[in-house]
Amino acid sequence: MHNPKWLQITTYALLAFWLVIALFPLYWMITLSFKNLVLITTGPFFFPWIDYSPVTLGWSDLFESGQRNRFLTAMRNSLICAIGSGLLSLVLGSMAGYGLSRFSYKVGIWRNRDISFFFLSQLILPPAAVILPLYILFVESGLYDTLFGLTLLYTVVGLPIVIWIMRDQFNSLPVELEQAALVDGHSALGAFLKIATPIAAPGMVAAFILVVIFSWNEYLFSAVLTSRTSYTLPQLVATQVSSQGVKFWTMAAVGTATVAPLLVIAIMLERYIVRGLTAGAVK
């Protein structure tokens, strides 16, 4: 459909407006990380080098002074949890997704549909509804304040998403190749590993990224189930909010460092993120 001139102008004006809405908070945070007390209290200054000269106080707070160790620990913990839970839920979720797509299950009155629904229904569960019993069980079993415990938990939260995406992915692939592999004497597991997973790679990338994003950003589980050693970045940000007060520059540096990796991932892998978010929703 070809649009008249007025509609085109309105379209671009609205797009520009939303660009500002989407980007200004990020822009403001990044510029804050290059300010100091004087610049913040006498501002607002919007353009570095034009209406103020940037200082690196926040970043030196983060990387040189006392914050350094806490920040690097949180960054390392977040990386381990995010990638660990991403990989683990990808392995378990792909297998479950494959099984639900290719085999026929009958456990009591449960069929494939019911098992899929069981996994998917886990999405509804609010973390706050299980967090306190989990806290007790984690303390009792020694998983409390361990990266292993947190990774295991994030894996479970990621599973429904992975299973949903992967089942959809396997459903869209032709089954003949795997059937041929069975005739050639491969086991079901062999057909899954050697034939199905390589062509399911796009779905796997999408599922992996979504779990990584979730784990990287998650707050409540990390806040309750870790304390001195296994805290993650969102927890660091949350504690800084109360302890740093008006030291906006340090906060802004911590915040920028926390969100930057995911922004880079989003810019590079937008296609996969969209694919994961919309899996199964559009037929």
Binding site: P25, W28, Q122, V156, A266
Partner: protein, 322 residues
């Protein structure tokens, strides 16, 4: 794509091998704690007062007996029957939190939907640099809600040094963003929408792009105007995707906690608190695990009931997707 015969023949153990690990992990980390929580909700368990001996040494299976004894002893010594639920009935903070949960879900999400629909329609036009807009519009959804809470709720909306407050002060206006419960909840809805809109937008855009172009050509030939085409065709064809997106958003909006925790801490008073935040603050920060677990179980039942009602009443179309 259901195939009753199964597309690939496999022995029972092989089929189990594929699904059982995911099932067992989900069972032990989610289902079991939820059921265990029912017991805890009938106790006055506190974080500091009720001590556990913790894990002994050795392989985990050998410690299971100790753990069961440890926990059942703690439950027996703190058992207080239905006191928690009786207290909940007269708890104003609980009622406010429940009300706020409903406000965030049923006022916040429709607003997110309207804006996201507008954006999706814009991006579905013939525009230059569409990819660029799509990527940038997605970015807010990548950011940790905790960081969003600080970045927007604290840094931008700061009443002393935020850009809006300072510009307003030049005009002799004193801005305060969170001084009443209504204002606090309203701004939290805005901040939460900033985070959530990209998700809805992506879903709707995918729905728009999956629509066959021919029917719109046909509508044009029939002389249907833009508005009529939108209402009669686009919106209706988009309805299944819209419902999916809205229900998913409602599910996630019920979990809302991190933004509120950072921005208002639930205040002023308890006015902008949700149940998740109440459970976190009362159960973990104040340590009243017994009472907060009772809250949590009620919260869980509440969420399951609301979502089931939604799925039954408006979601018939969605169920075909399972």
């Amino acid at each position: 794509m259901e195939n009753p015969a199964g597309l690939i023949p496999a022995a029972r153990w092989q089929k189990a091998l594929f699904v059982l690990p995911a099932f067992l992990l989900t069972f032990f980390i989610v289902i079991f704690p939820t059921v265990f929580g029912i017991l805890v909700s009938f106790t006055s368990w506190t974080r500091t007062g009720t001590t556990l001996d913790g894990p002994g040494s050795g392989f985990v299976l050998f410690r299971l007996g100790d753990m069961v004894r440890d926990i059942s002893e703690a439950i027996r010594s703190t058992w207080n029957g239905i006191d928690n639920f009786r207290r909940m009935a007269g708890d104003d903070a609980f009622r406010t939190a429940l009300k706020n949960n409903l406000i965030f879900a049923f006022i916040g999400v429709p607003l997110q939907y309207l804006v996201a629909l507008g954006l999706a329609l814009l991006l579905n036009q013939q525009i230059r640099a569409r990819k660029f807009y799509r990527v940038v519009f997605l970015l807010p959804f990548m950011i940790s809600p905790i960081a969003i809470g600080w970045m927007i709720g604290k840094a931008m909306f700061d009443a002393r040094f935020g850009p809006f407050a300072r510009i307003a002060r030049e005009l002799d206006i004193t801005l305060a963003f969170y001084d009443t419960g209504f204002k606090a909840v309203s701004w939290l809805i805005v901040i939460s929408a900033w985070y959530a809109i990209p998700f809805v937008m992506v879903m709707l855009l995918a729905g728009l792009q999956a629509m066959p172009g021919e029917i719109f050509e046909a509508a044009k030939i029939d002389g249907a105007g833009r508005w009529r085409t939108f209402v009669v065709m686009t919106f209706r064809l988009l309805l299944p995707v819209s419902l999916t997106a809205v229900i998913l958003r409602i599910i996630f909006e019920f979990k809302l906690i991190d933004i509120i925790y950072v921005v208002t801490g639930g205040g002023p008073g308890d006015a902008s608190q949700t149940l998740s935040l109440y459970i976190y603050k009362d159960g973990y920060l104040s340590g009243n695990i017994g009472y907060a677990t009772a809250l949590a179980e009620v919260f869980l039942i509440f969420v399951i009931v609301v979502i089931s009602l939604l799925l039954v009443t408006v979601g018939r179309k969605i169920r075909s997707l399972y």
